[in-house]
């Protein structure tokens, strides 16, 4: 057993610390790269100046590839030789001297070269500034490369510069074309393109014309004479016949702008300056190919491929496709569409689909609501019709009960008319006839006739079904007429009616026959309620007046036994009746009529003796 703090314990502790330290160091060592990648120095040499679009695009491709392969462990140097604008030997000598001095103490790992002139320069002077350094080139076509015949430590991303592919694309987009015009400048490289085109182009059925050795103005002038039946193919345009050095892209743009025919090219830089397009490699893809090839060369020149090919693909400027009215369906499926303006559908199809769905849903909802609303209106109309029917049936039933009294009521004027007429006849037969009395008799006959006609009109109004139209009425008049019609019946029942109405008309909006029905029903109900009373006590009070709030009140009171609140509530339900043989929907219908008038019909609960039914109608 070892005592803590003793010599054995201290040894043990020291050993443990040593082990821990060793573990920590091992962990740190294993986290670091096993073999550190050295910083690579890459020189990129361009033939032209730094603002040439092809150079800008290619530089971005190279940068992307190198950044992906090396991260930050690289140093990139760029030289723009500007050989086309400064073609003399002095410029080249100065360049060589400058480069030699500049990179004397800066060992390079690889030189990337774009364009044939630059490659020639580098191959010629590499010993001065990059001796023994492998070279990677790109953007050159096979004829150029074959002419240069680079040595074995030169690796290349060969460009197809797909002349035939561009012609094929043009023919596809212009199926009706009859001519093909091919333009090339006067520079050596331009002539290489012209030769290639003459050798390679196969366009059966097209008249092909090659134009070269013209001034820029000459090219533009010829282009302007072309028509829609022609395909214009513009190749290299770096020098014109006047000896003017051109920036290919700018010159080509001027020619395309002047052209009456759609223009095509083999360089991606032409797409976007007025050309429809072509089968092209992008300079960015050439840059990426050079960058990737350089990485392989730096890693192991022995295994790096000496030749890779950058593929071409159809590329169009969407604006030019639109401008020339070219059918987009003719485009090959893998076409890269620059400046593509998607249609509203392409851009917003989700939103459009969603909106359409919402609109459809809304429309469906609206249609459903309309159908429902129409159905409801139809049902309401049917209900209204049935209500009219029922009200009419109730009126007829009531009139049936009243028929005897009505007959009596009609017989009164008829009696008077007959008696008057016979008396008049006798008076006329007297000598001399009492003409004054005969006149009075005739007046009475006329009055009684009108009275009979009124009764018949009232009856007819109650008998016919009519419509539910509301018109302006005098409620006092409605009460007077109705009570008059019931007079005989009330007399027969030995029941008196006291009508309390103002002298002025009491206007309401209502349906005459329906309001009469209410008055008649309430009046006869009141008479019925007092049947067991002695005749002297049978008294109905009918009151009609405007209330303070402008609404109209019609109240019919009796002195009968009254009803319990339960019976009152029940009385408004259909098929509830205390009358033997009664249908029992009189009050129910009266309330329905009142409601159809926007009013109410209720018992006056404050009345303790007898019953008082109150109709309230809205102010007119």
């Amino acid at each position: 057993m070892t005592r803590p703090g003793g010599p054995s314990w201290q040894r043990l502790r020291r050993a443990a610390i040593e082990v821990a330290l060793a573990l920590a160091l091992w962990a740190v060592a294993s986290a670091a790269p096993a073999e550190e990648t050295p910083v690579r120095r890459i020189l990129i040499v361009y033939q032209h100046d730094s603002l040439l679009p092809a150079n800008i695009e290619a530089a971005s491709g190279i940068e992307a590839a190198l950044a992906a392969g090396l991260g930050t462990r690289r140093e990139t140097f760029t030289e723009y030789l500007d050989l086309d604008r400064f073609p003399g030997p002095e410029h080249r000598a100065r360049l060589v001297e400058m480069l030699a001095e500049k990179y004397a103490d800066m060992p390079l790992d690889v030189v990337i070269v774009g364009a044939s002139g630059a490659l020639r320069f580098v191959l010629e002077h590499r010993d001065a500034f990059a001796p023994g350094v492998p070279i990677v080139f790109g953007g050159l076509s096979a004829p150029e490369i074959e002419e240069i015949a680079p040595p074995p430590d030169v690796f290349g991303a060969w460009s197809a510069y797909d002349i035939q592919g561009s012609v094929d694309l043009a023919r596809r987009l212009q199926p009706d074309a009859e001519r093909l015009v091919v333009m090339s400048g006067s520079a050596g490289l331009d002539r290489v393109w012209d030769r290639r085109a003459r050798n390679e182009i196969k366009a059966p059925g097209l008249g092909v014309e090659f134009l070269t050795d013209l001034s820029l103005e000459g090219f533009k002038s010829r282009a302007s004479t072309l028509g829609r039946d022609t395909i214009l193919l513009v190749l290299g345009m770096n020098l014109d016949a006047d000896g003017r050095t051109l920036v290919g892209r700018a010159a080509a743009a001027e020619i395309a702008a002047a052209s009456g025919a759609p223009a095509y090219g083999i360089f991606s830089t032409y797409v976007g300056v007025g050309f429809v397009g072509g089968s092209v490699e992008t300079f960015r893809s050439i840059g990426e190919a050079m960058g990737n090839l350089a990485l392989k060369v730096m890693a192991d020149p022995a295994t790096a491929p000496h030749r890779i090919t950058t593929p071409a693909r159809p590329m169009v400027d969407w604006r030019q496709v639109r401008r020339w009215g070219i059918n987009p369906e003719l485009l090959p499926p893998d076409t890269l569409r620059l400046y593509y303006e998607p249609t509203a559908w392409e851009r917003y199809w989700r939103e459009i689909v969603l909106a359409a769905a919402v609109i459809l849903l809304q429309s469906a909802t609206i249609v459903a609501l309309i159908i429902q609303s129409r159905r409801r209106r139809r049902i309401e109309a049917e209900l209204a019709e049935e209500r009219l029917e029922l009200a009419h049936l109730a009126r007829r039933t009531q009139l049936g009960e009243l028929s005897g009294a009505v007959a009596h009521e009609l017989n009164q004027p008829l009696t008077a008319i007959l008696a008057n007429a016979e008396a008049g006849a006798k008076l006329l037969a007297q000598e001399p006839p009492d003409l004054a009395e005969v006149g009075a008799i005739l007046d009475d006959i006329a009055a009684d006739d009108r009275r009979a006609a009124d009764i018949i009109a009232q009856l007819r109004r109650l008998m016919i079904k009519g419509d539910a139209e509301l018109v302006e009425l005098d409620l006092n008049q409605v009460v007077a007429n109705t009570v008059g019609l019931a007079r005989s019946e009330l007399v027969a029942r030995q029941t008196t009616v006291e009508v309390q109405t103002g002298e002025a008309a009491l206007s309401v909006r209502g349906n005459l026959s329906q309001l009469q029905q209410i008055v008649l029903n309430l009046t006869l109900n009141a008479a019925e309620a007092m049947a067991e009373l002695p005749p002297s006590e049978r008294k109905i009070e009918v009151e009609a007046r405007a209330r303070d709030d402008g609404t109209r009140l019609l109240a019919v009171s009796d002195r009968g036994r009254g009803m319990t609140p339960e019976r009152q509530a029940e009385a408004f339900r259909p098929f509830v009746t205390s009358k033997p043989g009664g249908l029992g929907f009189g009050l129910s219908i009266c309330r329905t009529i009142a409601q159809a008038h926007g009013g109410t019909l209720d018992f006056d609960l404050s009345v303790k003796h007898g019953a008082r039914v109150v109709l309230v109608l809205p102010a007119p």
Binding site: A407, H408, Q412, A416, A423, D444, Q494, P535
Partner: protein
């Protein structure tokens, strides 16, 4: 048929009917006296001394049949012609049973009224004469 003017009471609540019947009675060469209700008639009966009454069955408050019954209850033998605009079943028998001399339905023709009056007043004279004899 008597030539003398008989007094005929007309009891009807309808003014137009009253006026027309009044003219009819005048044209029949009788003397009409009109009453608007049963109560008015019973009250004025003594003063008017009618020979016959044309009594409407449908009177407010006191109905025609009740007027007749009251007359008879009071011992009056006044001939009464009941007239009605509403010929309800059994009413004719009831009225005749209660002592009505005749039962006519409206509208009334003057020929019918005249015939009834003549018939009634002939009987009444006969009854009255017999009464006096008796």
């Amino acid at each position: 048929m008597g030539n003398a003017r008989n007094v005929i009471a007309i009891v009807d609540d309808d003014e137009g009917v009253r006026r027309a019947l009044r003219r009819m009675i005048l044209s029949l060469a009788h003397a009409p006296v009109t009453f608007a209700s049963g109560e008015e008639f019973l009250d004025g009966l003594a003063g008017a001394s009618p020979d016959c009454a044309i009594l409407d069955l449908h009177l407010p408050a006191l109905r025609g049949i009740e007027v007749l019954e009251r007359l008879r209850a009071e011992g009056s033998m006044l001939p009464v012609i009941i007239v009605t605009g509403l010929d309800q079943p059994g009413m004719r028998e009831r009225c005749l049973g209660a002592g009505a001399a005749a039962y006519l339905t409206k509208p009334l023709g003057s020929a019918d009224v005249s015939a009834e009056i003549e018939a009634i007043l002939g009987n009444a004279r006969h009854v009255s004469q017999r009464g006096r004899v008796g």
